[in-house]
Symmetry: C2
């Protein structure tokens, strides 16, 4: 039999007799010629079947191929600019593997719940392919960024004995004779232990929030990458974050342009993601809101609309830093110049995509951290190991977390995070 080839490699097989294996994406017929569009997961290729070439029996056999039927198609590859993907096959043989039953997803419009119920099939569409490949490239480029800069991967535990940020939004499970275990909301505290050990680390794994939020930005299960660096202060943290975002977006633009085209993504905003990113203080952000006539009160957290209005003032992601300490987590270090402010930074994506990064310099003083735990009514015993990081050679350190799904949503230009992950989990969806 002819060599089996993936469609993504067709360019190196022009003029050769090869075999493609895949599924019927589309078909049309024009008298004595049939056109079969085969997809194999790496691309699509049009096969041209001429009755006079393959004979009547094989020509008619093609009519059995319903949408998503699996088959092999052999013939000679030809460059053809007008064809999707740029190549066509002059088919000499068709071998049917499995005829698909009537496929539920058709070119007509389907409701999103109908598609979500069939996510395992919906993933076969070119749009979902494009999103999954952009997601893959984002994750690949993230690891490349840290691996290339001397960071060590530190897989934080999923089962945790205590909550990082309050207990109201935790999933819990019975854990043998040890009582309850909670599913992690963030690997940061463990990342801090890692940074004191390995200097520069990144945590990368799924995180969980049992929030009853039914918005286009919320999943109950989402992936997060969290770098943590010993001896970094807030400015170093912002430097790292902007270099990081530039690297991700540059990688996607370099390696996934065909996918961005499928998604009809306007890449103008992506091409702007170059250092330096604008940096505004929370105070300046409040001034922006007031100048736009919004009745925002100092001390509140930024809402979705506030974030959109602020980000609209800039042509690329904007970093907002030095938030009121009262609305930020206990572990954030206070600004030495103003004890009411935390050395925190959020990065807001353009085009209304909101916060994609949240980070801070961490409190590194033992007594201050202990006082914060008490202020937040957190049990000292559960955090005793975390306090150890301040007992034994404490150093300034900082880090941030980037949410993968929100980043995919922004870079792909999606309306809802449910398309950013293969099998999304939301408060009303646990299947398939």
């Amino acid at each position: 039999m002819a060599t089996k080839v993936y469609i993504e490699n067709l360019s190196t097989h022009v003029g050769e007799n090869i075999t493609l294996q895949g599924w019927l994406y589309n078909a049309r017929s024009s008298g004595k010629i049939k056109f079969l569009l085969l997809r194999d997961g790496t691309g699509v290729c049009q096969g041209v079947i001429v009755k006079a070439v393959v004979g009547e029996e094989m020509f008619n056999r093609c009519d059995q191929l319903t949408q998503e039927s699996s088959f092999k198609m052999s013939g000679t590859v030809r460059a053809e600019q007008r064809a999707p993907g740029g190549y066509e096959m002059d088919v000499t043989n068709i071998e049917i593997i499995s005829v698909a039953k009537e496929y539920p997803i058709t070119p007509k419009e389907h409701g999103v719940e109908f598609l979500a119920d069939r996510r395992h099939l919906w993933l076969r569409s070119s749009r979902q392919h494009a999103i999954m490949r952009v997601r893959h490239e984002i994750i690949r480029s993230i690891r490349e960024f840290f691996d290339g800069r001397g960071f060590t991967l530190l897989d934080a535990p999923i089962f945790t004995p205590a909550a990082c940020e309050g207990t109201s939004t935790l999933f819990e499970t019975e854990y043998f004779d040890l009582g309850k275990a909670f599913l992690t909301q963030s690997g940061q505290l463990y990342g801090e232990a890692g940074a004191m050990s390995l200097g520069k680390v990144y945590v990368f794994g799924p995180t969980f929030r049992a929030e009853k939020s039914k918005t286009r930005r919320h999943l109950t299960e989402f992936w997060m990458v969290e770098p943590e660096v010993a001896f970094n202060d807030l400015n170093d943290n912002m430097d790292l974050a902007e270099e990081f975002l530039e690297h991700i977006v540059t990688s996607v633009l370099k390696n996934r342009m065909p996918e961005l085209k499928v998604l009809e993504r306007n890449i103008k905003f992506l091409e702007n993601v170059k250092r330096p990113l604008p940096r505004v203080t929370y105070d300046e952000a409040v001034e922006i809101l007031h100048s736009k006539g919004l009745p925002f009160e100092w001390g509140n957290d930024l809402g979705g609309t506030d974030e959109t209005v602020i980000s609209e003032q800039f042509d690329r992601p904007v970093m907002v830093h030095r938030y009121p300490a009262a609305i930020k987590a206990f572990y954030m270090k206070r600004d030495p110049n103003n004890d009411k402010l935390a050395l925190a930074v959020d990065v807001l994506a353009p085009e209304g995509y909101g916060e994609i990064i949240g980070g801070s310099q961490r409190e590194d003083d033992y007594d201050t951290l202990l006082a914060r735990l008490k202020e937040h009514n957190l049990p000292q015993e559960a955090f005793d190991w975390y306090l150890d990081l301040r007992r034994f050679g404490s150093v300034p350190h900082a880090g941030f977390g980037l949410g993968i799904e929100r980043t995919v949503s922004w870079i792909c230009g999606l309306d809802h995070v449910r398309e950013t992950i293969p099998f999304p989990r939301m408060i009303y969806r646990l299947t398939p």
Copy 2:
């Protein structure tokens, strides 16, 4: 201030005046000279402090530095073959950041529970550094392998509505109004959906087993990578597995030799991990056991001792294939030449490290798969989406799973998997 440098980059700063930041790993004094061993997470460097150079005040100040105290050390870098890491610093300035309280982990022997309770500090030791860096390299090389071969990453869900392999060893959590969600034991079924969509995929994430196994090979939370390839049969699957293992081990030998030295790893067995790996059928494996006088009964699963005896016959990992179908999962395809056998393959690591890979060709016939579900008393409704993969363009496909922690354990030559992951979770351990 002098340029801040990481120890791993010292080779490019010889003769320069630089600053190192880190923690005191060790110190000794000889009259008018002190030697401070600073670790910064990327390596260790010895600073030489001469009283006549730095003056009495600074010389004496060094005495405050207890083990794991944090400090900055500035001076000129010098190549010194006898020094750990190959470089030394002639120190001109010491800046103390934080004096550590009495450090609980000392050079003397500690019990493993004592160390495990202080895992956040234990991670600072050179041995744990080495393991974490080998772990990182294993994971990096795994992703490099698949990314470089056209696979798409497919993150399978952690929350699942049903069990992949029985329900007795599942962690469960309340999931809003949808009842219970179970933590995934394997992303394979979702990987199969991905392979039908994207051709070649790999799932890579944490998996969970609530097994009450208190052995040196069991964690309740462990990471697994699971490639799945459309149109692959069992032989293709074994070809992929052996190429994959060769790539991982070659990468570690190439990039982490200093760490293997720290671990005093005998690398003879690692250097042997070259294709082709030996392949024996289950039947042949049973013959080996009988020839060694073991009273093994055909049809049983291989136990730890059996695996060790079989692997001792080979100088590299061995693939055992075609197991009795009765002891394997419902989704495995039967051998067309013998319906009692499943087209399964396990890869056994040498030196008694046991199974590190388990895989199979999958059942691709709708009616057969449906019958298997019934035989295993699995609810058809929960697997209806999985059956869809056979309704709509079913193709032969195969895949396998590699357990990260067992692989780290084997490559590092460890006695117990608890050291293979930053914060291990076992039936009797959920902290820190």
